[in-house]
């Protein structure tokens, strides 16, 4: 009996009853040998990037107190893109004072409807400048233009649009309660979705009547300062939004500032814990959106081809720089061999390369630091005895930080690559026999942000999704986001929700 027939037979009986199979079911997606993609670069000619950027404080661009700047590079070319002001506690203090003044004098006195209209304006202006923002996002952060153009920027606009409408409807959001703004919010965002995370933070904060001091990540400050231009163009009152650039120390200055009422942080669990600790004993409210090690569970009765697409989207979307990435594949034994084979074939079709090329599936790793971290984890995986497989179809560019799509099989639950967040295009694959075992393995990390379930059986979806200890469950889909949909983690993946009605809670005091 040939290999092929054996496999088909095994498949036909896997679920008890024979299933019709296509004679071409085992054909490989061998696109590369038919043709090569021609480059399709997005032009960045019309994008203006200045040599140097200042903080945005009290409605204008403001030279940093210590006059120190740091360089930000394009991770796909390793060339310097621009210089950004290094925020010190003086700068943060100035920004907090501006935010307080704007809160007391202007923003809290503005009728809610007018507040909303400013936010609508911002939403519209993001849409108007969408292409420019998308290109900048890809140049600054390394993500494929397709993602920044189709996901990051439109969603950022959508978040502003959604929360703008809440501004004058808050009385309906909290039954029996009246919502009051908390005051000045300090917000610290990560580098994986720079503009989108800014939108997640600023939109609900402004809608509920707060003013903000936001610090973008040091490797991706550019769209935040473009957003500052938008605030100015929208005529947003000075001091309502303040943007201070810098690294960890700038963030610490925000967290420790005594006149900030609320801290919103998105980033690693490690830093989140430090922030939670430094807020101990204070009255500051806080929300933390931290790391994850998302399980992606594939049952035998799932549609294998859809599942393969889902796995690819779960782990290779945005180079795997996604806190809710499906970085742990759990596949039921009966289909494991077939699924892994198909996954490997699919990986060969992924194009790794120039983020500005519209054909690119996987762009550049965001920074050298992250690049090194991912490679360290790949080393760890090999040392732990796991079997590595990387796709070989793409020749990686000579310059820039690029990482091949990587999977590890033969891993154990206790392996570091299974337990720790890698934040790169690295997937571990484990198998399971029973649904109980899948749940047990899925929940067996300190994280609980998101997970995936793939099965054709509705009752199984509900059973498993109820048992997963995570804030988001994607059933027969993965990595979907929407402004109406609450997002946030259980356990060490964070505290609080962003998005949807639930995302209003962190920014109000209920009376």
């Amino acid at each position: 009996m040939s290999e092929k027939t054996k496999e088909n037979e095994a498949e036909a009986t896997a679920n008890g009853s024979p299933k019709p199979t296509s004679p071409n079911a085992d054909l490989k997606h061998d696109f590369a040998s038919f043709w090569n993609y021609s480059p399709a670069p997005e032009s960045s000619d019309f994008v203006e990037i200045r040599k140097q950027y200042q903080h945005y404080i009290d409605g204008s661009f403001s030279v940093p107190a210590k006059k120190r700047y740091f360089k930000s590079i394009n991770p796909a070319t390793e060339e310097v893109l621009a210089e950004f002001a290094e925020g010190t506690s003086e700068d943060v203090d100035k920004a907090v004072k501006a935010a307080r003044k704007a809160y007391d004098k202007v923003w809290s006195k503005l009728p809610a409807r007018e507040r909303g209209k400013y936010i609508y304006r911002i939403a519209r202006m993001i849409q108007e400048r969408a292409r420019e923002l998308a290109i900048i996002e890809s140049m600054d952060g390394g993500k494929p233009i397709r993602e920044s153009r189709d996901v990051d920027v439109p969603l950022a606009a959508a978040y502003f649009f959604y929360y703008a409408g809440w501004a004058d409807k808050l009385d309906y959001a909290f039954p029996g309660r009246k919502a009051e703004p908390v005051g000045v919010c300090g917000q610290i965002i990560p580098w994986n979705f720079p503009l989108l995370m800014l939108a997640w933070k600023i939109a609900p904060a402004l809608a509920t009547g707060n003013t903000v001091v936001l610090k973008p990540a040091e490797t991706t400050s550019l769209t935040a300062l473009k957003f500052a231009e938008i605030c100015m163009d929208a005529g947003l009152p000075a001091g309502v939004v303040n943007i201070v650039t810098g690294a960890g120390q700038t963030g610490a200055a925000i967290v420790d500032h005594p006149d900030i009422n609320k801290i919103a942080f998105t980033g690693s669990t490690e830093v989140g814990k430090i922030i939670q600790k430094s807020l101990a004993g204070t009255d500051k409210k806080f929300t933390l959106e931290l790391g994850g090690k998302g399980p992606n569970i594939i049952f035998e009765d799932a549609s294998v081809d859809q599942a393969v697409e889902g796995i690819v989207n779960a782990i290779f979307f945005n180079q795997g720089h996604v806190c809710c990435a499906g970085s742990r594949l759990l596949v039921q034994e009966g289909i494991a061999d077939k699924l892994i084979k198909k996954l490997k074939q699919r990986m060969e079709t992924l194009i790794v390369g120039d983020p500005l090329d519209k054909n690119t599936d996987i762009g550049a790793i965001n920074s050298k630091m992250q690049f090194n971290k991912i490679n360290e984890y790949i080393e760890i995986g090999i040392k732990e005895g796991a079997t590595i497989h990387q796709s070989n179809s793409s020749n990686l560019p000579d310059k820039g930080y690029f990482c091949k799509p990587t999977i590890f099989t033969g891993v154990a639950q206790s392996n570091r690559i299974v337990q720790e967040e890698i934040f790169g295009p690295v997937l571990t694959i484990q198998t399971f026999r029973t649904p109980e075992e899948a749940v047990e393995k899925a929940n067996n990390t300190p994280y609980g942000l998101a997970g995936g379930i793939w099965t054709d059986k509705g009752s199984k979806i509900f059973k498993i999704s109820q048992k997963l200890r995570s804030g988001v469950v994607w059933a027969n889909t993965f990595n979907k986001f929407d402004p109406t949909s609450p997002f946030g983690g259980y356990k060490e993946s964070g505290v609080g929700r962003e998005g949807g009605l639930h995302g209003l809670y962190p920014y109000v005091n209920l009376k």
Binding site: Q466, N476, T477, D482, Y490, G500, H502
Partner: protein, 287 residues
Amino acid sequence: MSDRIDVLKTYKTYVGGKFPRSESDRTYKVKNSNDKIVANACRCTRKDVRDAVLAARAASKDWSGRSAYNRGQVLYRIAEMLEGRKDQFIKELELLGMKSKEAIYEVELSVDRLIYYAGWTDKYPQVFGTVNPVASSHFNFSTPEPTGVVGIIASDTDPLLSIISLIAPVIAGGNTCVILASESNPLPAVSFGEVLHASDVPGGVVNILTGYREEMVDHLSSHMDVNAVLNTIFDKKTRKLIDENASISVKRVVHYDSKNWADDTHENPYLILDFQETKTTWHPVGV
């Protein structure tokens, strides 16, 4: 007065549906408001805290998996049992120095508060859950789920009413808990454990420890298998300690400063929500 000698009660703890003494075998003296010794209470230790967390964790799967209707019935059953033992609790509160009228009021309000929360179990998910109109073709909904194991540091005032006000919203929401009872007035809490035992509350859902707060707060709030802490002790040092310990494993912390447990701010579903996580589920819509 007859010459009959009263039978005094030995106050133990309530852990995992049983009434063990502290593993340390140590006790401390509980005094009433006239400084008269009324009983010996268990002086629990770190080991007792760990045992209690273990029991709470073990009970979590069953309790959080119960239907909302069933949890409501169990809470209602606690109220029924407490109603039946009103006299015992009134006496106990009097023993601690409370005036008779106040004691009656506290016990009756405690019963009513349990009924209040019994009624919420199958309603708060409707009030706070949402169906989210996402732009893509997916069905998307959010529901509250219990946070897990909650450590409760109880108040010294209104010893029965306060403990019920703290426990009821936590367990109504499907959590299990470990309570450090009031240090100065632990007796009603321990007796309330007997009520829980006689109701249909599964063992381990509520665990009650007595002892010196200072010896237990640190261990409870730093325990890696505790998901959240509800604290009513309002001194800065304790608050900071709990907050810092919580950061070790990103615990949710609620500090709850109340002087008057009788007022109706203690009856609202937002207190249930304090120990709920929102889970959002997506599924494609298609044929």
